[in-house]
Point group: C2
Chain length 207, copies 2
């Protein structure tokens, strides 16, 4: 059934809960779903592509965009800036594309304010112990960074009740199925479907 | 994630839209979902099992149950009585089982009144022409019965907006996936999950 507009799915999770992999998989497997591309000032990592993983800009460019009101939300995280372009999101939604954004709790709140129909999904790690293990196993982070991430994780989890859905990323394939169910289910909601299409198809002749 | 209580899914569709087959498949494929068994006074058909497809009772027994307030909803359809036992539904929900009921629009309204948290799902036929074809192909119905069913179908479709979700049963396997998504998605909703369990698991030590 054709949607009038795309839906906006905001996915948050503490660092290490598996959010990025999950969102990537979803965008690869459900048709009509695309990942939003954020702007960032952080350095490009090996394997990352500008315009695909992020729009990489320098701090001057980023500050100009802030001044121009280009961001629906932006934040400084661990010394780098990250921001979501309003026109990027609105463009996709108006084309009927469902947009998946991964973003932290503060960003999610800002998105909800600008897009009240957005769907907020929180991904939990299997347990706090497993989260710590995953952060330690991830290369390149110092003990201090891991400690900060763990404290932030608890602060983020404390706010899970502002979200519409909660998924526990215990078995990855099950979490994929659950995120898929949330997205497909939302598309079928009476508040989101194309009523003109239904009336044309089923009720026009009968009237 | 353990649910505190089961959810109640009410599935309606005009006769011929494929509701019964769809509900049967769902109950066979998703764990923790069970079909509610209605009481009826209509004659048992070949292949039907008392207590599985329906609880078959005579009209005197049915009227006694009405008088005793046993039904959360009941209706007379084409000369036969159909009713849903409150204790049957509540028993399953309290055990944490998700219950799927298939029931007409009037029945769905009564269920919503008694169970405000119930999820109402409307199944549309692929088109009105296809619906007519399916009703004609079905054996044992007279032209008059088919005509009545078609008129009722239009009346039922007119009320689709009281439902929470709409699924078009065009390709059966896709409709199964969609109904599955609705049920799985609802289980993950913040209003339905077990908050004590989450707080115990993720926030207890941190407090």
């Amino acid at each position: 059934m054709k949607q009038r507009k795309g839906n906006l799915f905001v996915v948050s999770a503490p660092s290490g809960a598996g959010k990025t992999t999950l969102c990537k998989r979803i965008c690869d497997t459900i048709s009509g779903v695309r990942h939003s591309v954020s702007y960032t000032t952080r350095k490009i990592r090996s394997g990352e592509i500008n315009g695909v993983h992020y729009m990489f800009v320098d701090e001057d460019e980023f500050r100009t965009m802030i001044a121009d009101g280009e961001f629906v939300e932006w934040a400084e995280v661990y010394g780098n800036f990250y921001g979501t372009s309003r026109s990027h999101i609105e463009g996709m939604i108006n084309e009927g594309i469902d947009v998946v954004m991964d973003i932290d709790v503060q960003g999610a709140k800002q998105i909800r304010r600008h897009f009240p129909d957005s769907v907020l999904i929180f991904i939990m790690p299997p347990s706090m112990m497993e989260l710590e293990k995953r952060l330690v196993d991830r290369r390149g982070d110092s003990a201090d960074v891991i400690d900060t991430r763990l404290k932030n994780a608890v602060e983020e989890i404390r706010e899970y009740k502002i979200y519409d859905y909660v998924i526990i990323n215990n078995v990855f394939e099950e979490a994929v199925e659950e995120l898929k169910a949330v997205i497909m289910g939302e598309r079928l909601k009476i508040t989101r479907i194309n009523h003109e299409w239904i009336e044309e198809k089923f009720l026009k002749e009968a009237q």
